[in-house]
């Protein structure tokens, strides 16, 4: 069943319209991937879902309308957004970052989750009392994801997780994301320029060009689609 549904969503920045009537569905437990070049509107799409920018159209999450709600309300509804550039609290420690990820939760049992994610990402465990800003890009990306998971979200929005990371680290990151999806049943909406990796992990794909979806379908089909291959996969 559809966890997140967008119907005819448009939006942008002030007078500049970036998104033009998008329809999108993410089912519970699946990984949806949005591909697109720079400036296609990928980041704007995630910002519209999170209520960082205002948008027109219907955004439904778990049967409830999200459009028009404020960012913190969207977060509390169970959507964790890992923004482009990771958005870590650079002056705060790793542990404080993780604790903040649990801000959306009402229950008090943050300690057990903290232990769990520090085990899953041992690098973070080694650096738990170190300032987040002193870590490498890859480590900060792991922290951003672990922080998102601390809120026990039902849906994670990932904005270009591979940006600025070395190829090997990117591969490791996508392996872990795939693991989270398979083992923990985590639902994800991933926006990526690295189409190969993203389509390998994804169940469903969308291709975004200048604010419109020009192709959509099962990820495997998109990978074999000639136009998509030429434009995004480079072979």
């Amino acid at each position: 069943m559809a966890l997140l549904e967008l119907h005819d969503v448009s939006g942008g920045y002030g007078p500049v319209q970036v998104l033009h009537g998008l329809d999108l569905t993410v089912d519970e437990g699946e990984v949806a991937v949005v591909l697109g070049a720079n400036g296609a509107g990928k980041t704007t799409l995630l910002r519209a879902i999170s209520g960082i920018i205002s948008s027109k159209g219907e955004i439904t999450f778990d049967g409830k309308r999200l459009d028009g709600r404020r960012t913190e309300a969207v977060a509390r509804a169970g959507i964790a957004h890992v923004p482009q550039g990771r958005g870590t609290f650079t002056e705060l420690t790793v542990e404080e970052n993780l604790r903040l990820g649990a801000s959306v939760r009402r229950d008090g049992d943050v300690g057990a989750d903290m232990r769990h994610w520090l085990e899953v990402f041992p690098r973070l465990g080694e650096r738990r009392s170190q300032e987040a800003g002193s870590m490498s890009g890859g480590e900060q990306q792991m922290l951003a994801i672990a922080r998102a998971m601390m809120g026990r979200p039902r849906l994670v929005l990932l904005d270009e997780p591979s940006l600025g990371l070395a190829p090997l680290i990117t591969r490791d990151l996508f392996e872990r994301l795939g693991q989270l999806n398979r083992e923990d049943g985590l639902t994800m909406l991933v926006v990526e320029q690295n189409a190969n990796l993203a389509l390998d992990m994804g169940d469903r794909g969308y291709v975004l060009e200048t604010g419109r979806f020009v192709a959509t379908g099962p990820a495997a089909d998109l990978k074999n689609d000639d136009a998509v291959r030429k434009a995004y996969l480079g072979f």
Partner: protein
């Protein structure tokens, strides 16, 4: 030697006041990235409220100051919501600076309008008299003032470092966008920051007006604000510890200049402010401020 030590103690007494106003400035700077130029005049107004409460009723001074802090707390939150935030959203931070300068004039004038222009006597909550330590005489008032500052620092440290709301405030200061993404209501935290700063200002103003029979008039906080700004710049605008150390330093430097540097007679302000200038030339982030270094 005794004269020297007495001047140092004198300076510490004033320095404590600069430090507590600088603390309020730093608190707002850390949560909002802004300098509140009206901090001193907001404190002036609150001081008049404390004075009115204790002289017009038979409320004891301490209770009056406490009540005035509570009123200041609410007023600070309202000011953030009504005056600051509408100007702040999405536009130049300079606009907010202009608003705080406007508030500077407004609060000073309102205080004179409501409470008159005659100098008033603000009773001190501290015991009078002094204690002798060896050959040095220390005012009980000075000790009381220093104790209040120490308690203030400890409570502020515990609030910011050890509580959930403190962590949220630091998160908003560090990255407002990300704080919203983890579900923190950044607006409420900003209101809280302003509220707390206003309450601390009310405390500082009420104590300084009563200190060594300083008295209460519309110019009470103006010199204090200049020194507090100097202290905040010296300590680093984002460091509460820096605000306290630098506040004490500026106070002591000023007292010693008055005593020993005859050349600067009448323009003693030059020395502490000159020292601040030198420190900032060498270390632009202040003594305790952090350089923003980020790996990407």
């Amino acid at each position: 030697m005794d004269l020297f030590l007495e001047q140092v103690l004198n300076g510490i007494g004033n320095g404590v006041v600069y430090a507590s106003v600088a603390l309020a400035l730093v608190l707002i700077f850390r949560t909002t990235g802004l300098l509140n130029f009206a901090q001193g005049e907001m404190a002036l107004f609150s001081t008049y409220v404390s004075w009115k409460l204790t002289t017009a009723t038979d409320l004891p001074v301490l209770a009056a100051i406490g009540l005035s802090m509570a009123i200041g707390f609410v007023a600070g939150a309202v000011i953030e919501r009504v005056l600051i935030r509408p100007v702040e959203e999405g536009r130049s931070p300079l606009n907010v600076v202009i608003v705080t300068l406007g508030m500077f004039l407004a609060f000073n004038s309102l205080a004179q309008l409501f409470f008159g222009t005659d100098p008033e006597v603000m009773p001190s909550p501290f015991p009078q008299g002094s204690v002798d330590v060896g050959s040095i005489r220390i005012n009980k008032e000075t000790i009381g003032l220093a104790a209040v500052l120490a308690v203030e620092c400890i409570l502020l440290y515990l609030l910011l470092q050890k509580t959930k709301i403190g962590l949220s405030i630091r998160a908003v200061a560090s990255n407002p966008d990300s704080s919203r993404l983890v579900g923190i209501n950044a607006g409420v935290m900003l209101m809280f920051g302003w509220a707390l700063a206003a309450a601390l200002g009310a405390l500082a103003g009420s104590l300084v007006a009563g200190y060594e029979n300083r008295g209460l008039d519309a110019s009470l906080m103006q010199a204090v604000l200049v020194f507090a700004l100097a202290a905040a710049a010296l300590g680093g605008f984002d460091s509460p510890l820096g605000a306290v150390v630098a506040g004490l330093f500026v106070g002591v430097a000023n007292a010693l200049t008055i005593q020993y540097v005859d050349v600067l007679d009448g323009i003693e302000l030059v020395l502490p402010l000159g020292l601040v200038l030198i420190v900032l030339l060498v270390r632009p982030t202040g003594l305790f401020g952090r350089r923003t270094v980020e790996r990407v």
